[in-house]
Assembly symmetry: C2
Homo-oligomer: 171 residues x 2
């Protein structure tokens, strides 16, 4: 089992101390992010669950991603990552929504996008902790673009590590 328990534990502590909750919308990681977060005993205090949207159809059905977004930008895109994170947050009522969409390999659907390309979306309603300006309290979603190397399993693990680290930085 992928061992990033300590980062997942620290994320849990941070969420629990703020009384905030988290939901996931996973594509390429297929459940590994949720499984890692729930590897921590007591995680039901802050982890509500989420959606695994492995196909375009499921992204439309369960996460209300528009056909237009999928057609214009592709499933592995900043636009779709943002929509997934925002929707799962709204749908579940969680404070934070995090999404993953990428190509874990060994092949991609899009010849122009290499294996290991991933977008991680983070949606949150409160003020961005990196934004010191007043009035920045509207819901927002940030999307990170990463490129990872390795086997399919390694790429999935790197994405999960990165998602947990990015959340931890922001919570």
């Amino acid at each position: 089992m992928f061992d990033d328990r300590s980062a997942a534990e620290r994320l849990g502590d941070a969420l629990e101390s703020r009384g905030e909750t988290l939901a996931v919308a996973e594509s390429c990681t297929g459940g590994l992010l949720g499984s890692t977060i729930t590897g921590v005993p007591g995680s039901s205090a802050y982890f509500v669950g989420g959606v695994l949207a492995y196909t375009d159809r499921t992204k439309r059905q369960l996460l209300a991603v528009s056909r237009e977004s999928l057609e214009r930008h592709g499933a592995v895109s900043e636009t779709v990552a943002s929509a997934m994170a925002r929707h799962v947050r709204d749908e579940t009522g969680a404070d934070w929504g995090v999404s993953t969409t990428g190509y874990a390999g060994p092949t991609t659907d899009d010849p122009e996008t290499p294996v290991g390309t991933v977008f991680i979306g983070i949606a949150y309603a409160g003020r961005d902790s990196t934004d010191a300006s007043e009035g920045a309290a509207e819901p927002f979603a940030v999307v990170e673009h990463h490129q990872f190397d390795g086997t399919r399993e390694e790429v999935k693990e790197r994405i999960v590590e990165q998602a947990v680290a990015s959340l931890l930085e922001r919570v």
Copy 2:
């Protein structure tokens, strides 16, 4: 990483050869079942995704489990496992729906139900392959009750192994 790749691969081959699809509704496994199924390259041909419903609220919101079922039978019950598997199958349009609900430990919410108790639900619209009678073509859900020993992580892995094996037997 939990290594039951060969069973997951065999399940994938079985689904793909029948042109059938699968969706998951996970509670106690928190995404490990989806992650194991999507560990197989090309799994998007038969795995559509699903729902992680880690709390009672998410079971109601994302899987339409009734309050009455949760109150009368508890989240870790045959009734709830059946409802989860049937709903995720209907919602996603997959041929098969599989659910997990149990206590991975180290504690339980219910003093009468020991750690390691799990219900695995399997919903399918076709005829049960173990049922040779005519006309048995209505949607059905079967629920298995298991009791596993081990650490939290070991219990999760045993549940996933069992769910894959039980699906493989039926597909």
